[in-house]
Amino acid sequence: MTAKAAIRAEGERLFAALVAAGAVPVETDLLQPAETLLDLYGEDIRARAYVTQDPVRGEMMLRPDFTVPVVQAHMAHGAEPARYAYLGEVFRKQDRGSGRASEYLQVGYEVFDRTAPEAADAEVFALFRDLLAGLSLRPVTGDIGILMAAVRGLETTDRRKAALLRHIWRPQRFKALLDRFAGRAAMPAARARLLEKLALGTPAQLIDEAGSFVGLRSPAEIAERAEALVADAATLPIRATEAALLYDLLTLEAPAAAALTHLRGITPMLPAIAPAVDRFAARLEALAARGVDVGALAFEASHGRTALEYYDGFVFSFHVEDLPPVASGGRYDALTAVLGAGAFIPAVGGVIRPELVAKLRGLA
């Protein structure tokens, strides 16, 4: 059997196991409308996905992942609750010399279920653990929901919280903003100069003096942000104790059970995270009920923040040295609202790369 055939056979074996577990097979198009993906992920995805031109349909992308089209299909005509399985190629541009495949199979499982999100999280994780048994993979978990709850609970302006939440999937930028809002980084010289200029008149005067008005961004929008900048400069930094808790949270890495104890310990000082920590506790119980040793399971609070997906809750991946993650997944409740045109359903899922499984089994 050729390597490619062995990989496909491994993919079909995994897919059959997901179907046997109760999932409904689902197919999606290889060509996806670029606009939807660009609106979700931004221009950055152009560096990762293959874009092609259709004379009638406009810009299309070779499917960079399944989650978006599967969510769309479910939101359009799926019955609830639903469990889906899929198998097919995804396409990702790779860096020169990385040696990584730019075309590979994914086997995936997605759960849309309103009843017990934590039980669904545990169901997906345990199913993947069972499918990957014997490969000596190291699972890592995280929970972006706790981080988001911590940001929402900060005692600062809504504007600052919104800026932090918007960049939660761009850790460097998030850190730079937090450093500034917490007073750990000095105000950049360019911002100080800008504030000096803004002090010279009302926004309307300054816009008038700046020359001919061009562009779609209206004077009202410009004035609103100019006023917000002035107001923000007068805003007190996030309290040192509160900021310290957030920095601590960003770097929290511990076995899951110990992480829960730690989070319970800081909850009185950061009460806004209480519901998210309760969900974390419920998930650990559900995982333990499925035989996962939560006393050993790795937990990293920042795990999954650089992933392509818009994960906003539980995240997980299965690793082995010198290879990309063999499997990964997570909860993406917000994505269903974005793609559902008003409708919303809690959702969790993940993918396995059969090529890596076959390699580890010595088949390809």
């Binding site: 221009e43 152009r46 960049h167 761009r170 950049p188 360019a190 816009i207 008005f213 961004r217």
Partner: protein, 232 residues
């Protein structure tokens, strides 16, 4: 015979001819005015190929020319900033131009890339689409903005008169090459204080992929010696 590709017209061609000429290597266009052929004198075993500056990166990467003169902006845009296909032999000190990001001068709240990012968030919320930046340098601009964590923007293709796109309502901001900034001012645009994406200038490049016979190697060495540049 090794081939050297140089820009086929305009100021860039003339500056290039002058640069080689002062080093004893004479380049001339020959034939009718519209015919793109040239000769090179004062050096043996080297042929001159006149090409559009925008095609020179591709010809170097394909190994169809051994050496080439073109802007660093074009090479980095087309081949990437770490292109293994080419090696930079010399910066030639002409053709300087900066690839910059500019916004309407009336955006009194936007001074830096950081402000642009925040403005993009507000713009998208207000207008229902991402803030459009017109450019023809998609790769350089996207890499620059991605490295700084800018979100909620979209690049729209503009092959000419990019400075006019804002006034014409097809973009909110631009990323383009400028040498003096006059066109920007005339179109009511202002450069972000940290909006310099790439400082371009004419560079002499060597292709790593063009095949070389022993005779070709001697020609390259001879040419490098005449020009006073070190080979990689």
């Amino acid at each position: 015979m090794i081939k050297i590709g140089v820009p086929s017209k305009g100021r860039l061609m003339q500056d290039c001819f002058d640069w080689f000429g002062t080093r004893g290597v004479t380049m001339r266009r020959v034939g009718a005015d519209r015919e793109y052929s040239g000769v090179i004198e004062g050096i043996d075993g080297v042929g001159l190929v006149l090409l559009s500056a925008g095609e020179i990166p591709r010809e170097l990467a394909a190994g169809r020319i051994h050496l080439g003169v073109t802007g660093s902006d074009l090479v980095h845009e087309q081949l990437g900033s770490q292109a293994p296909e080419v090696v930079e032999l010399a910066r030639l000190g002409f053709g300087q131009a900066d690839l910059i990001i500019a916004v309407p001068a009336v955006w009194i709240d936007v001074e830096t890339v950081d402000d642009l990012d925040a403005a993009a968030a507000g713009f998208r919320a207000a207008h229902g689409h991402r803030l459009r930046i017109a450019t023809k340098y998609h790769r350089l601009v996207r890499d620059f903005l991605q490295a700084q964590g800018v979100a909620d923007y979209q690049l729209v293709d503009s092959l000419g008169a990019t400075e006019g796109t804002v006034k014409n309502g097809t973009a909110e901001a631009i990323a383009d090459i400028t040498s003096s900034g006059e066109t920007l001012r005339a179109n009511h645009l202002r450069i972000l204080s940290d909006g310099l994406i790439h400082s371009s200038e004419a560079v002499l490049w060597q292709s790593r992929l063009a095949p070389l016979t022993p005779g070709d190697r001697e020609a390259v060495t001879r040419l490098a010696a005449a020009l006073g540049v070190a080979l990689a």
